[in-house]
Symmetry: C2
Subunit: 112 residues, 2 copies
Amino acid sequence: MKLMKSRHPEVNIQTVPGISSINGAASRLGIALAEGDDHVAIVPARDDFAEMKRVIIENDCVIFIKVAKVMDLMRDVLRELKLVVKTSIVAKVTSDEESVWVIHELDRVELE
Amino acid sequence: MKLMKSRHPEVNIQTVPGISSINGAASRLGIALAEGDDHVAIVPARDDFAEMKRVIIENDCVIFIKVAKVMDLMRDVLRELKLVVKTSIVAKVTSDEESVWVIHELDRVELE
């Protein structure tokens, strides 16, 4: 959108809100992302153990996006925090190729 | 949902994803909440200057909900961080009673 605005400032841009993959995933999992005064974070997963750990500790619900490339690290962080049992993984949610992994399968997840 | 599950565990609950007020607000403002590796936080505004400041500093985009009751404090935090110019306020988004405040009106906002 930023690129379009800078290259074609004369074009009138209108946005139409949709259902985000995050809301789709929460619905698919049948969970509420937040209740009461919960803090929610939406964070791209990165190859940074300390930072990923910090984000999880400081929030009540964290949605990591782009997880595939750092799957092993994320697994290690979640294990250290004993949060594997509270983790779900959803890929290509609401599409025909949707995948949902339950917790005990976490060791076998191989995202594309 | 948690209450319903605990009181009536026999009821089969299905959730249907919708457009969240957060996505609705971003669309109404014509902005992207995140680009690249931005961190997004969704946080209930609280009467805690240091905590609100910390959340803003540590994220690239913060959506504060339930702002009305701590409007003065939020204004002070944003002023201290010189972020008033990057702030928008949206109320009752996508409804007939929708209000959007532009930055220079921030001093005059009185939310219900």
